[in-house]
């Protein structure tokens, strides 16, 4: 709802800028253009205007060099997920598969599905929004953890938990803007989604349990630093709007949302 109201505003403001014919105006415009290009496809981090990420198909023009590209996707593989929100039917097979694969107890979850109702909407009025740890590039939880028990994996960018180091102060739970963490009594540690790293990816599997279990192909999982991957193509499709959850907190999520 917010998204649609923000969009015209952004367009309007750029139109205003263009109307300025003075030299100063042109200079401003030039700065803005360069900034925009710099922003360009920094989808992993910066979002452009409102809650929508501006998606551009001409990737090569945006990333001037390979170095720029590496700066935007600092991990290899840069694990990421694109959630095709409107495909979700709330069957919760992802949740079941996740719990089974990762020993998630009854009282906890690593992923869940939220329900959004739009009573005024024509036709379909309900939408389902699967949520999981966003494996943020600027994770609030990692900054807050006193003992580095939760950390950003330097290779693949997954936000991991070293159970041995967790003191259970729960600051990361308060810090997470998306409530993606819980305290696991059996593990005596905070537990959270790690894209099935220990249970699947490190054993050679290509997909997370949730992505594999989904019958509607909602969860597109892959390497964002690989231009051939589905997640890369999906996130960079100019035809589609791509957004992240709670962008205002500046955590730069690696889980993206789209529809249509």
């Amino acid at each position: 709802m917010k998204q649609s109201s923000d969009q015209p505003e952004t367009q309007q403001s750029s139109a205003n800028t263009e109307s300025k014919e003075t030299a100063e105006g042109r200079k401003l415009l030039e700065i803005e253009r360069r900034d925009f290009l710099k922003l360009g496809l920094a989808v992993t981090g910066i979002f452009a205007g409102g809650t929508l990420l501006s998606a551009v198909s001409v990737v090569d023009q945006v990333f001037a060099s390979k170095q720029d590209f590496a700066e935007h996707y600092p991990y290899k593989p840069h694990y990421s997920m694109l959630i095709r929100q409107d495909n979700c039917i709330d069957c919760e097979r992802c949740k079941e598969a996740c719990a089974k694969t990762n020993d998630v107890p009854e009282y906890g979850y690593r992923t869940r599905i939220l329900e959004q109702v739009h009573p005024a909407s024509l036709g379909r009025t309900t939408e389902f929004i699967p949520v999981l740890c966003n494996q943020c590039n600027n994770p609030a939880c990692v900054r807050a953890c006193p003992t580095k028990a939760t950390y950003k994996d330097p290779q693949n960018g997954i936000v991991m938990v070293d159970q041995e180091k967790c003191i259970g102060c729960k600051t990361c739970m308060s810090a997470c803007p998306c409530n993606d963490r819980y305290y696991n009594e059996e593990k005596k540690s905070i537990d959270k989604c790690n894209f099935c790293y220990d249970t699947r990816l490190s054993k050679g599997e290509k997909l997370t349990a949730c992505a594999e279990a989904c019958p509607a192909n909602v969860r597109v999982f892959g390497d964002l630093s690989d231009p051939q991957s589905d997640v890369y193509k999906g996130v960079h499709d100019i035809e589609k709007a791509v957004w992240v959850l709670r962008p205002e907190t500046g955590t730069k999520p690696n889980v993206f949302y789209t529809k249509g």
Binding site: Q116, R143, C145, P146, A149, G168, P177, C178, E185
Partner: protein, 404 residues
């Protein structure tokens, strides 16, 4: 009750010596009862805390995934706020040389140690794996974490304050001033970091912003002034001694500090609301929960009424000279501030993080109710302060200040 009074009333005129002895023995008996009572509170709190550790916080505590911080965190904050305040207000005299404040120094420093210990007592049972903290805080420190700084600095603070107290007892005032200064620095740094633990969580709009560290220091001073006045008055009741004129003067100026700080906190509170209402939905919802929602009683009656407005009026009325009135005002403040901390911690988490997305899963505020285990641990912490305070009065002979 009536029996005692009538005995005293009848016997005192005829046998003044016997009467005085009776009052003394009654006082001693009351002292012993109070000591035993507080000791039992500590034991019960410890037992509840250990039991909670055995059965797990999921079963024992009222906290949840959505509200991970409960009354144990807010009580910890309450104790360390008081400790920092005791340290700061008393330091005006014994560290920064304002003579009027000197007579309250020893007891304040002693109480600062007692309250920080109570804070550690409560947080020990709150943290899931406190023993790991001792190890990994040292070998795996995260320097961007406020919790790390706060824990480490409060550890140092407790040592400084304890050493300072011993130096004051031994009469080594010069060194005590230096250590006291280090205590102030560590205390302010630790306490503002505690504010930042909340203030730096940008996912929690009610807390987020530079306001928290500043607010924490100011409210520490407010709590410290109240604690000094209350405990000094109680101590003289226990010891059965008249308050010396120097101490009276010290309490008079402490009352002035109290009045000033209440005004400051009221000012902060008003602006927090005005600014907050210009903000997003989530923040407004949190503020409304205090003004008209489930926290309205806590806010208006306990925080504003009992915690600030009535004490402010009583302080002003006392002119810093009517000690029982000042003690009453201070006791009310301490009581009200306990709930101020509670509301601060709980309201910050009550609004769902997805609230502004209008999802049906999180339609309104989360609720949290302290469990019996949690309340017992809180009472254990309160008992610990009472116990240490009472023992300290006897062991250190009423914390008297020799002329120096």
């Amino acid at each position: 009750m009536t029996d005692n009074v009538s005995t005293e009333a009848v016997e005192t005129p005829f046998l003044p010596e016997r009467g005085a002895g009776l009052i003394r023995s009654l006082r001693e008996r009351a002292y012993l009862i109070a000591v035993s009572f507080f000791a039992l509170m500590v034991l019960a709190g410890t037992a509840a805390g250990i039991h909670a550790k055995m059965i797990g916080s999921l079963a024992a505590y009222g906290v949840s995934r959505e509200v991970p911080w409960g009354i144990l965190i807010s009580t910890y904050v309450f104790f360390v706020v008081t400790s920092t305040g005791l340290c700061l207000v008393s330091s005006i005299g014994h560290v920064f040389g304002v003579k009027d404040f000197v007579p309250i120094a020893k007891r304040s420093v002693f109480l600062a140690v007692a309250t920080i210990m109570a804070g550690f007592f409560v947080i020990f049972f709150e943290i899931e794996n406190p023993l790991r903290m001792a190890v990994y805080n040292v070998i795996s420190p995260n320097l961007t974490s406020n919790i790390w700084w706060m824990g480490t600095l409060y550890g140092a603070y407790m040592v400084f304050m304890a050493v300072e107290f011993m130096l004051l007892v031994k009469g080594k005032y010069k060194v005590a001033t230096l250590v006291g200064f280090l205590g102030v620095v560590a205390g302010v740094a630790a306490h503002s970091n505690l504010g930042a633990v909340f203030g730096m969580l940008d996912g929690r709009e009610f807390w987020y912003g530079p306001f928290m560290p500043i607010y924490f220091i100011a409210s520490a001073m407010m709590s410290g002034a109240a604690a000094i006045i209350f405990f000094t008055w109680v101590a003289h009741k226990i010891n059965g001694e008249e308050i010396e004129p120097e101490t009276k003067r010290a309490l008079e100026v402490t009352t002035k500090v109290g009045i000033l700080l209440i005004a400051v906190i009221l000012f902060f509170t008003i602006w927090k609301f005005i600014i907050g209402f210009a903000g997003g939905e989530a923040k407004i919802m949190a503020l409304r929960s205090l003004l008209t929602g489930p926290f309205a009683f806590n806010f208006w009656v306990l925080e504003i009424g009992v915690g600030m407005i009535i004490p402010l009026v009583l302080y002003l009325q006392s002119r810093g000279r009517n000690l029982p009135l000042m003690a009453l005002a201070s006791a009310m403040m301490i009581f009200g501030i306990f709930f101020m901390r509670y509301d601060l911690v709980i309201v910050g988490q009550a609004v769902p993080v997805y609230y502004e997305m209008n999802v049906t899963d999180y339609p309104g505020l989360f609720t949290y109710t302290p469990s019996a285990h949690e309340i017992m641990v809180v009472l254990g912490g309160i008992g610990l302060v009472g116990l240490i305070f009472l023992l300290g009065e006897k062991i250190f002979g009423g914390h008297k200040t020799e002329a120096h």
